[in-house]
Symmetry: C2
């Protein structure tokens, strides 16, 4: 579904007299203005309230004040709506990560890796349902062509470069970068997932501990791969 047919200002079509401001609320008569946007926002809200499964096209339509069939003029299926929601969430996630990284020391790649991990975990703990929607597949027909995959691939590349730099600077005591990378991701993703999937209570981690524990666990991993022996027990 290539939807790339909206050049910003060119294409002088047939004369449209009563076009007015096109931005005023105007009491929403019949044509809605920006139903697509409103539907995405409603769905984001539903995700926040009850998780990905709680999103229904009909409820989103209800909240947008339109009939049940209206959303299908903008999204070919529920999955497509979910996809748009995931892209929005992924955008926010990425923005937060990059903001955190821009405030991190430039000369210390391992420190930057830690910073990235922390930002990742903090966002995931604060937005568990949104994190879930960008993490679990089954909301994506084609893994390709999706902006989510795009953003994600760039984050992966970023991590890879950081670790490579850390190794080049002699910060690591292990050489198999790919292994370190996947282990690091598994650790961080697993921690975030444990939170989402409700595992912490049975591991003795309370809600208040979670943030501190996240930091501790990340540091344990970094100490495990870093060259300096660090403090012992």
């Amino acid at each position: 579904m290539p939807a790339a047919s909206k050049p910003p200002a060119a294409k002088a079509g047939p004369a449209k007299p009563r076009r007015r401001n096109a931005r005023a609320p105007a009491a929403r008569p019949y044509h809605h203005g920006d139903l697509r946007r409103v539907l995405i926002d409603a769905a984001l809200q539903l995700v926040g309230e009850g998780g990905p499964e709680a999103v229904s096209v009909r409820e989103a339509a209800r909240r947008a004040g339109v009939s049940p069939g209206a959303p299908f003029r903008h999204f070919p299926s529920r999955d497509a709506l979910m996809n748009a929601v995931a892209e929005e969430a992924q955008r926010r996630f990425r923005a937060e990560i990059e903001a955190a990284l821009s405030a991190a020391p430039a000369g210390d790649p391992l420190g930057r890796f830690r910073c990235l991990g922390l930002a990742y975990l903090r966002w995931a703990m604060k937005n568990p349902t949104h994190f879930e929607i960008i993490s679990s597949r089954r909301f994506f027909d084609h893994d390709r062509a999706s902006g989510v995959s795009q953003d994600n691939a760039e984050l992966i590349d970023l991590t890879e470069r950081m670790l490579a730099e850390a190794f080049a600077q002699g910060q690591l005591r292990v050489g198999d970068l790919k292994r370190v990378q996947i282990a690091g991701r598994a650790l961080i993703y697993g921690f975030a997932r444990m939170n989402i999937d409700g595992h912490f209570p049975r591991w003795g981690v309370t809600g208040a501990d979670a943030g501190r524990t996240a930091e501790d666990v990340l540091d344990l991993f970094i100490e495990g791969i870093a060259k300096v022996p660090g403090k012992s027990a």
Copy 2:
């Protein structure tokens, strides 16, 4: 719902003349014999085919050859059916783990930890949909009172004791056991989850690699917490 009212052989009720063998298939006329069991098996199959979301009470009823309302005589809700399915899967999971552990060296707790991690990962990779159902909550009304939680808690205890023993024997270079434990679980769970959630392709791990990578990642973690420096890069 306390369902503890079936003493094996006592309770001589009112005389029941035509009770016969009560075990022969007998061409299933109207009363089904063991619909509960058949429904669980059908649901397990559905989980295997399309994941937890693919389970519908009606489809399970269809496969069992009964009407849509019949399952509700055995399970009060879809969630209750899912719960029973999860308990079955958890039983199998635990059995496999324990079988692997019984073949592991007794004197080497860290080695046993490795063995447990491997068995965990192997089962999760071979049974991704069943693993998902026992890992994600939202199939459990009450985390308590469930056999799943029971089995799970025992596995957690087991791990805890192993690591404590490893520390007591001087195998670990870190002393905060709880931290090690949670990090280890996050790593292993995260790896299994990455598989389920379809992350491996974008991390350059192919299906054939996955088993070997699991082992590598686990070893990397163990090297990170073990006392012996081991081989460097």
